[in-house]
């Protein structure tokens, strides 16, 4: 791709590296995603009751319509109940 697009190989290398390291760093500690999940639960629980057993937090590569691939953190959080706070305020 570098040859075709005429981009400097340095820039290609840098972009590839940044991408790799996002995943490497998350992999080094298997607890990484668990830590994020635990913090998400803590914050969201003030507002709603969520199904933590069914909750999923994932780091993945996503292709966008502009042709670029990005790393994205996705969280799927089933809501059991929304707390009756903040309403009408």
């Amino acid at each position: 791709m570098g040859f075709l697009s005429g981009r400097k190989s340095r820039d290609v290398a840098k972009e590839r590296l940044k991408f790799m390291l996002i995943h490497d760093r998350a992999d080094i500690s298997p607890r990484f995603l668990q830590m994020i999940q635990a913090d998400l639960v803590k914050v969201i629980s003030d507002y709603m009751v969520i199904d933590t057993a069914q909750m999923e937090v994932d780091l993945k590569r996503v292709s966008h319509s502009d042709g670029r691939i990005r790393s994205e953190l996705t969280a799927s959080i089933p809501i059991l109940k929304v707390k009756n706070m903040g309403k009408n305020r």
């Binding site: 590296l17 790799m20 390291l21 490497d24 760093r25 080094i28």
Partner: protein
Amino acid sequence: MGEVIVVTSGKGGVGKTTTVANVGTALAMRGKKVVLMDADIGLRNLDVVMGLENRIVYDLVDVVEGVCRLKQALIRDKRYEGLYLMPAAQTKDKNAVTPEQMQKLTNELKESFDYILVDCPAGIEQGFRNAIAGAEKAVVVTVPEVSAIRDADRIIGLLSAHGIAEPMLVVNRVRYDMVRRGDMINIEDTTDILGIELAGVVPDDEKIVISTNRGEPVVADPKSAAGKAYRDVAARLMGEDVPFAEKTESKGFVSKLKALFGRNG
């Protein structure tokens, strides 16, 4: 009380041993008492780079196993006052030493030396864990290539998991001509990606090959660009404020680097 500094990289062949030999020699040239310790058991080569291979009688494993006393295994480098080599065993494997034994050994050396530089084996296995066991500081060596930087990042994470936070970075074999063309990852990119402090930038220098052929550290050569870079690394390890960037022909790049490192250096 001396300081134990492990020199590590993850990836092999990026210049760990050359860095240990040259930075250690430079420290000795500055009047420090230094031990170069080869922790690459089974694949020793620090002795060869230093040109001391014919003087080995005992090695690190002999000390650990009680075959000899610590002082007996230390080889004094007659060329540089205060410089000693602790060779690795060539016939044993990486499990011949435990992290506890390594710690005990470095603790003992700390009492009589200013710096103990540990040459760490490549990889992240037991040999790595043994080599870092007694260290309180680390120097991570990399070259400006995707694979080496990726491995350096991994090593930085592992060092931190083992309680060695904030290692310093040596970027080895930099080719400024390629950096200028935009065909080599530059120093700014590398430190930006790895997020650790820079201890030195060593230009690619054929004098390294020549000096290794001869078994004479390149820091002794006042004309070598790499030698100067290693002397600067030694000075920074001693806590001196040495400005970065001199070895390039491009004015734009020099000023850019100076601007970049002005705040650090």
